[in-house]
């Protein structure tokens, strides 16, 4: 489904590559977790795959479509849920979703039904006409998710979709993503919640310094590493315990 070949990104003025000669294949129907410490290159990789960032070198294709030649088709094919809320605070949830849905070319009547359905599933229907600025962090995260899936994407990129939310909101989000995956959406997500990734993902890749240091099914990775009781142990073994502070 997604084929990444020697993909690299070096930001202007930076001394090192954020993503360095990365190769990766993600299969259709997978829930793929991109894990790594701060500054490892997860968001940069997701941004390139979402057509937000130009790679320095290398290439990738999604469903056989090269990113350079099929930009418009790819935008219709993929969905992106950014780490930021990326919503209009003074508009209501419904107005935000109607707008972003319209930008995918979805007609008003179809959109209204879909929005209603998503809001109900994510427990937000009674707040549909409230302005986003009155929402809690967890509620905003859920609206942020809906805005990225209104056009029923075949591939969904999520950059830390459960960061800063309570356990209940996280549970609802993960359950909704599982439902989407069950309907055929391939999911690629980044997270710092390793327990969540261990339980949620069919496969993970641990990235550090822009390259993949290991990848595979979570359970297999844990089994392959002596003494590792969970994914966090594997993660620390592969990326070290040194703090990763960047300024």
């Amino acid at each position: 489904m997604i084929q990444i070949n020697q993909l690299s990104k070096k930001y202007k003025g930076a001394e090192i590559f954020s993503v360095n000669d990365l190769n990766l294949t993600i299969n259709e129907g997978e829930i793929f977790g991109l894990l790594g410490p701060n500054g490892a290159g997860k968001t940069t990789l997701i941004s390139m795959l979402s057509s937000l960032l130009k790679p320095t070198s290398g290439s990738f294709s999604i469903d056989g479509m090269n990113y350079k030649d099929h930009q418009k088709e790819l935008k219709q094919f993929i969905g992106t849920v950014p780490q930021e809320y990326a919503l209009y605070p003074t508009l209501t949830a419904k107005e935000n979703l109607m707008y972003f849905g319209s930008m995918y070319g979805i007609q008003k009547s179809d959109l209204q039904n879909d929005i209603q359905g998503h809001l109900e599933t994510l427990g937000l229907s009674e707040f549909a006409n409230k302005k986003i600025k009155t929402y809690s962090g967890g509620m905003k995260r859920r609206i942020n998710l809906i805005a990225g899936i209104l056009h029923k994407p075949k591939v969904l990129f999520l950059d830390e979709p459960t960061v800063g939310v309570d356990v209940q909101s996280r549970n609802v989000i993960i359950e909704h993503l599982k439902q989407l995956n069950a309907k055929g959406t391939t999911i690629i997500y980044t997270s710092h919640h390793l327990n969540e990734a261990e339980e949620f993902c069919s496969r993970v890749a641990i990235i550090d310094h822009g390259t993949i240091v290991c990848q595979g099914e979570p359970k297999k990775l844990i089994a392959e590493h002596n003494g590792a009781g969970n994914l966090e142990d594997v993660f620390l073994e592969k990326t070290g315990k040194a703090l990763r502070d960047y300024a």
Partner: protein
Amino acid sequence: MHKLLASAYKEFLLLTRDIGGLAVLFLMPLLLVITITLIQDSTFNTIKQNKIPIIVVDNDKGEVSQNILENLKSSKMFELSEQSNEKLVQELIQNGKYQLAIIIPENLSKDLNQKVSENVDGILAQFGAIEDSLPHKTTILQTKEVKLYFDPATQFSFRNSIKSGIDQMVSKIETQAIYKAFQEQISDDPTEQIFDTESFITFKEIIPNAGKKALIPNSTQHNIPAWTLFAIFFIILPLSINMVNEKNQGTFVRLRTHPVSYGTVLGGKAIVFLSVSLIQFALMLLVGIYLFPFLGLPKLDVSGRLPLLFVVAFFAGLAAVGLGLLLGTIAKSQEQSAPFGATFVVILAAIGGVWVPVFAMPKFMQALSKMSPMNWGLEAFYDVFLRNVGLSELVPEISLLLLFFVVTTVIAIVYYNRKNAV
């Protein structure tokens, strides 16, 4: 089209949700035009109706100084008070107690009369009108200087108009002295009127109206177009701030993942902000027509011109929106867009001739003025308001405004696409 309309609707919602911002957007331009017109109109009336207090130091005490004093009194512009101490007068002017002091030099009457008499005698002797065996006498007299002291705070234009008025008055007195000297030489009867000393050439102001109804230019007819245009261009501030906010909120980034062109996103903004500028314009006209007379200001005359005025406002609004879209695309923060936008509009207004007429500018600035969209808009408004032109005469100016919109918007789109090329 569906995406464009959805974008425009979103912009409409964003605008209407910010009631404070909306009030500022509509009320501030109205406040601006009312304030400026009130100030200009009252200044005009003050100069016309109120007298300017001036001091005169009469060191001459003669016929000429008397004549000057009478002329000053009869001009109705000045309220005269006399002083004898020039040093004290200087202090009063320096302190701003008076705007002007006139110092009439000693022996002005005596020397002027002597100079004129000698000149007249000389002329008449040349023509043999004086049968005098004595040779013609010429005394070397020092030029007399009427000193003017101005309050340092008075404006250059005020000084110039006063200097020109006094110069005119002194010339008239000098001419009359010459006539009088001739009369004394030619006739023995002082009551006999040989010369008509009244001015032969007078001025009459005619307003060219090309056979149409004559329009009397007044502060309203001048201010509404100038300041309305200023307000229309100020739309670049809220528009660019709106775009910078979208960047900060992350919504612009989200839109980049959608299959929607930047042109469509800008189109939605252009529709709404152009509508805002047209509503602003309509409000300005309503204020000029209905509110100004209540404030004692001249009523705005739009009779027969309304469609053309809206045509100009539409294209001026387009030019302003184009500039706002470009600024919003390039600016990264409100700290960049707001001060730059405000200052740039003021510069465009200055160059465009909103404050100082273009003809009064130096040559270089006049050339620069021709490149200001505000100048094109202002000229188009003046054409409609004051020159009674038709649509065909407006074509050059509105074409330039349209071109400006197209160019700025295309630059914005190209810049955005290059910046975000993947």
